[in-house]
C-alpha cells in the first residue's frame, strides 16, 4: 500500500465513521485541535484502523497518535512499507 492509499483510507474512516469534514483532513491536521475529536472518537478511529488494516494497536501506541500524519506513519511502519 502506498502512503497516499493509506492516507485516503484514514480519511475515509474519519469522514464516514467520525463525520469529520473532508476538507479538514490533511496530514498535518491534529485530531483534537483541528478535527475536534474527543477521546472516544480516537478509540473508535483506532479500532476501525485495526479492522481495516489488519493490525493490533496497543493503548500506548494509540496515545502517541496525535495527527493524521502520525496515523498514516504508524500504519506504513506496521505494514513494512
Amino acid at each position: 500500500m502506498t502512503r497516499e492509499e493509506v492516507f485516503e483510507q484514514v480519511k475515509k474512516i474519519l469522514v464516514e465513521t467520525l463525520s469529520v469534514d473532508e476538507e479538514k483532513v490533511t496530514m498535518e491536521a491534529r485530531f483534537q485541535e483541528d478535527l475536534e475529536t474527543d477521546s472516544l472518537d480516537l478509540v473508535e478511529l483506532v479500532m476501525t484502523m485495526e479492522e481495516k488494516f489488519g493490525l493490533k494497536i496497543s493503548d500506548e501506541e494509540a496515545a502517541q497518535i496525535k495527527t493524521v500524519g502520525d496515523a498514516v506513519d504508524f500504519v506504513m511502519a506496521r505494514l513494512g512499507a
Binding site: S19, D21, V43
Partner: protein, 358 residues
C-alpha cells in the same frame, strides 16, 4: 358526576400503548437485552423481557447462560439466549471496560446488533459503558457528531422529550444544534407528537442569556430551518410544558433529571404522610386514591422504561439501573419502537445531508 374534570396528566400508557397499536406494524423485531445489567439482574430483567416478548417482538437475552436458562419457563416462545460469560461492573471505567471485556453482556449484545443478529439493544447496566460500547460497536449515524441520551419526562398535561441526560458532560454549540434535530425526531417518531417544538435550556429567555456556548447554540438552532425552535426556556418552564423537546448538555440534563425525579418523590411522600395524619385526611385520601394513582404512575420513571441513545445506527435503550420488570418491559418496547418508526432514517436524512456542521 364522575369524569367531569380533565385529568392533569396523560397516562404514560397513552404514549406506550401507541407503540403496539399501529395496525400495519406486524414486523417481528429482535431486541437484544443485557440480562446481567442492573441492580435487579438477572431475575427482574428476564421477567420484564418475557412480558415484552411476543409475535412481533423477539427477545434475545444476553448473559450467563447457566443463570438465565433456569429463569425461563418451559416452552417459552419468542425468546432466545446468547451466552456472554463476562459482566462490566458499575464502577469500571467505560472505555477500558468495553475494550478489555469483549465477552461482557453489554459488548456481546451490541455486537449482535452490529452483525445484524438483533435490531435493537437494551441495558440497565453501566451507562457509560453502554454509550462507549454503542459508539465503538454500533457506530453513529453518518453526520452525527455526538449521541445524546434522550428521555421521556413526565409533564402536565403530556410528557416531553429531554436530552442530553448524560452521554456527554461537555458539548460544543454544534452538538446542541444536532440534539435539537434528533430530539425533535424522537418526539415525533417515538412519542407521537405531530409537530414538536424545541426549547434550549438556559438561564434566561433572551437569546443573549447563557454561557457563550449556549448563546452560540441558540444562534445555530434559530438559523436551522428544520427545527421548530421556540427559543430559550428556563428550568421552571420544563415541567410547565412550554415546549415539547428540551435541549441541554449532558451535565445539566443529568442534574435536572435527577432533581425532577427527587422532587416528584418528595412531593408524593409528603402527600402520603399528609393523607395518613388523621381519620379525616385518610377519608380524603380514599376519595382521591384512584386519581392520585394516575399522577403517581405518570411520575414513575419505570412507566417509560428508559431513555434512547439517539444518533446511533440502531436503537440503544438505556434503562434505569434500578429497573424492575415493568421498567425493563417498557425499555424493550421502546427498543422495538425505535426500530420500526422513522426515527433513524429521519436522523440520517436530516444530519447526514449537511455532514454534521452548518
Amino acid at each position: 358526576m364522575r369524569g367531569s374534570g380533565r385529568r392533569p396528566y396523560t397516562s404514560p400508557h397513552e404514549v406506550t400503548d401507541a407503540w403496539s397499536a399501529a395496525a400495519d406494524d406486524r414486523r417481528c423485531v429482535r431486541v437484544a437485552v443485557d440480562a446481567m445489567g442492573g441492580d435487579h439482574a438477572p431475575g427482574e430483567v428476564v421477567a420484564g423481557a418475557l412480558r415484552a416478548a411476543g409475535p412481533t417482538l423477539h427477545v434475545v437475552l444476553v448473559g450467563d447462560e447457566a443463570r438465565l436458562r433456569p429463569l425461563l419457563p418451559g416452552g417459552v416462545e419468542h425468546v432466545s439466549v446468547v451466552h456472554a460469560p463476562d459482566v462490566i461492573g458499575y464502577d469500571e471505567e467505560p472505555v477500558a471496560a468495553v475494550r478489555r471485556r469483549p465477552g461482557s453482556s453489554i459488548v456481546v449484545g451490541l455486537r449482535l446488533v452490529h452483525e445484524g443478529e438483533a435490531d435493537a439493544f437494551v441495558s440497565a447496566g453501566n451507562t457509560g459503558a453502554v454509550v462507549a460500547g454503542a459508539v465503538l460497536h454500533v457506530h453513529r449515524i453518518r453526520g452525527v457528531l455526538r449521541p445524546a441520551i434522550c428521555t421521556i419526562m413526565p409533564c402536565m398535561p403530556a410528557p416531553i422529550a429531554f436530552l442530553d441526560v448524560g452521554a456527554n458532560a461537555e458539548v460544543r454549540p454544534e452538538h446542541l444544534r444536532q440534539f435539537a434535530v434528533m430530539g425533535q425526531a424522537f418526539a415525533r417518531e417515538v412519542m407521537g407528537i405531530a409537530e414538536p417544538t424545541v426549547g434550549l435550556l438556559s438561564i434566561g429567555e433572551e437569546p443573549t442569556k447563557g454561557t457563550p456556548d449556549v448563546i452560540e447554540a441558540h444562534r445555530l438552532i434559530a438559523a436551522d430551518p428544520r427545527v421548530r425552535f421556540y427559543g430559550n426556556i428556563e428550568g421552571r418552564d420544563i415541567m410547565n410544558r412550554t415546549v415539547d423537546v428540551v435541549v441541554t448538555d449532558g451535565f445539566t440534563g443529568n442534574v435536572c433529571l435527577k432533581t425532577v425525579e427527587g422532587t416528584a418523590k418528595a412531593i408524593l411522600r409528603a402527600l402520603r404522610e399528609t393523607i395518613g395524619l388523621s381519620p379525616l385526611t385518610k377519608l380524603g385520601g380514599l376519595l382521591l386514591a384512584r386519581d392520585l394513582r394516575v399522577v403517581r404512575d405518570a411520575l414513575d420513571p419505570e412507566e417509560f422504561g428508559g431513555a434512547l441513545l439517539v444518533g446511533m445506527r440502531a436503537p440503544v435503550v438505556i434503562a434505569h439501573g434500578n429497573s424492575r420488570a415493568r421498567g425493563i418491559e417498557q425499555a424493550v418496547r421502546m427498543g422495538r419502537r425505535g426500530a420500526v418508526s422513522d426515527l433513524l432514517p429521519s436522523i440520517g436524512r436530516e444530519l447526514g445531508a449537511d455532514g454534521g456542521s452548518v
